[in-house]
């Protein structure tokens, strides 16, 4: 990055000219430092190579991480990593194009400076020669004219002859000076033509280079950041760093989704929906969700162990069996009552098992993860003794936590009867989705078991 930062330039080889390279001969000597331009081109070229290398690193790392990773979150992660790699590659190409253009321009500038500089020197020399020869020619012409006039007025024939001879010599010198001046003019015009052509060629080359560089700049892509950014590294795992807990935020987040759907038959002890419907009643929602879940689970275990588990249906069947029944109906009622009695007998043990899991989850998983800031919570919609739906707030939370945007995450797991279908949206970022998958599966499996039994 620093290689691309602005900085002071060193002295220019041709520059700082108070006349800005103007020559007075119809062309300019280009300003600028080819050496610095070439060095800058090399820096950008090295950046292009580095970007290619970094892109390959990102691709390799993403493939390494994704190789054995299956799930919707992996898809989201791979998609994002693919975007990053694409940007790295595109920018490497754009950098390379700019570097190539500038490298060529450095040579063109150097060539233009050499040619125009040489042309300038030749123009100056030939212009000087031309001027001096023209001056000499004028002087010789004046001499010849003077001598010719003197010869015309001379009385002595010998004197007249001598003056005429000298006038001829001066005339010859004038002619020679004029010829030299013409030669110098030819040299000057040739040099001037060279200078103008080189200057014009350089201008075209510079304009073409500017267009190339501008095009390269337009092709430089800005990589999209992970949605919501990335939170500090989690503690306790290979990544190592700390988790911030916000009990107040947890309580608020839990209370919101639970309140409108709370329900359940509290007198019956444990019924679908009761775990969450009674959270508020027991003050759990305001006392820290994770520890509250553990405490609640343990309390419910005690309740389960003590409470009689009666079934209205079983009672009705038993009452019906005491009365008159048709043989077929009696047989059906007896079989059904037997089955219900068996299921009810198994209920405490199974429910206890699941409650222990809930407690374990709260202690070992939900606590640390939810501690990052809960966005929503577990939501149970009850009906017909089947847990219909679970919104895995843990997934959302993890997504929000890792993504650094608790409110933006949306990884939800739905439980419909025994089927769990986690739907991980982008909200909390790819890794958030990944965590959502993971936590959603954990919670979903747990709640599913509880729902099936209860």
């Amino acid at each position: 990055v620093s290689a691309l930062s602005s900085g002071a330039s060193s002295g220019l080889t041709i520059g700082g000219d108070p006349f800005g390279g103007q020559t007075g001969f119809g062309f300019q000597v280009p300003q600028g430092n080819p050496g610095e331009i070439d060095a800058a081109a090399r820096v950008i070229s090295e950046q292009a190579s580095l970007l290619s290398s970094r892109g390959r690193d990102v691709l390799s790392g993403a493939r390494l991480a994704s190789a054995a990773w299956k799930g919707q979150a992996e898809g989201a992660f791979s998609e994002y990593a693919g975007h990053v790699v694409t940007v790295f590659d595109a920018n490497a190409m754009a950098y390379g194009e700019a570097a190539q253009a500038m490298s060529s321009f450095a040579r063109e500038l150097e060539d233009a400076q050499r040619v125009t500089g040489q042309a300038l020197r030749e123009c100056e020399t030939s212009h000087g020669q031309m001027t001096s020869q023209l001056q000499a020619a004028a002087e010789h012409g004046q001499t010849a004219s003077t001598l010719t006039q003197q010869a015309a007025t001379a009385f002595h024939p010998q004197m007249q002859s001598e003056l005429t001879r000298q006038a001829g010599i001066a005339q010859g010198q004038q002619d020679a000076a004029n010829r030299a001046a013409n030669a110098a003019r030819g040299q000057f015009e040739a040099a001037q033509r060279q200078g103008i052509q080189a200057w014009e060629r350089y201008q075209h080359q510079a304009q073409a280079t500017a267009r190339q560089v501008q095009g390269a700049a337009e092709r430089v892509q800005m990589v999209e950041r992970l949605p919501g950014g990335v939170a500090p590294l989690l503690a306790g795992g290979p990544g190592g760093v700390a988790i911030a807990g916000t009990p107040a935020a947890m309580a608020t987040a839990f209370a919101s989704p639970f309140a409108p759907i709370a329900g359940g038959d509290e007198e019956a002890g444990i019924v679908p929906g009761l775990p969450l419907s009674t959270l508020d009643e027991y003050g759990i929602l305001t006392g820290g969700a994770a520890s509250g879940l553990s405490a609640y689970a343990r309390q419910q275990m005690e309740t389960l162990e003590e409470a009689p588990h009666l079934s209205n249906r079983l009672t009705a069947l038993e009452e019906a069996l005491d009365g008159p029944l048709a043989p077929a109906d009696r047989a059906y009622a007896e079989a059904t009552a037997s089955q219900l009695a068996g299921e009810l007998a198994d209920l405490p043990a199974q429910s206890l098992s699941n409650l222990r899991q809930l407690a374990n989850f709260s202690d070992h998983f939900a606590g640390p993860i939810l501690g990052g800031g809960v966005d929503s919570g577990i939501r149970i919609i009850e009906g017909q003794n089947v847990v219909k739906s679970v919104s895995a707030g843990v997934g959302t939370t993890a997504g929000g936590y890792v993504g650094g945007a608790a409110g933006g995450a949306a990884c939800t797991a739905f439980v419909v009867t025994a089927e769990i279908a986690p739907l991980c949206a982008v909200g909390g970022g790819a890794i958030g989705g990944f965590l959502g998958d993971k936590a959603g599966a954990l919670v979903g499996g747990l709640i599913d078991d509880v729902g099936n039994i209860l």
Partner: protein, 90 residues
Amino acid sequence: VSFFSVTPDELVAGSAVVGGATAGTGAAAVADAAAMTPVEGAWAAFVDRAATASIAMDEVAVDLAKALANAAAAYARSDATAAGGLAVHR
């Protein structure tokens, strides 16, 4: 149902490789290299945009590496939880 078979180590390894993409380069001033030439403006604009893009790319590589490390940490944590009795899809 989502299935997971990646291990924390794999994510950490991926994170390390991605993190290698942030290797810095030596400092040099290039923005003013084309001063006093007709390319000066276009070059300065390119360098400015490239610098911005490079900073973002470096940061994103760091983000990716950090995110993978986070995932690895979460995996390690959830694996520990699974070892305590929860069934975890893998």
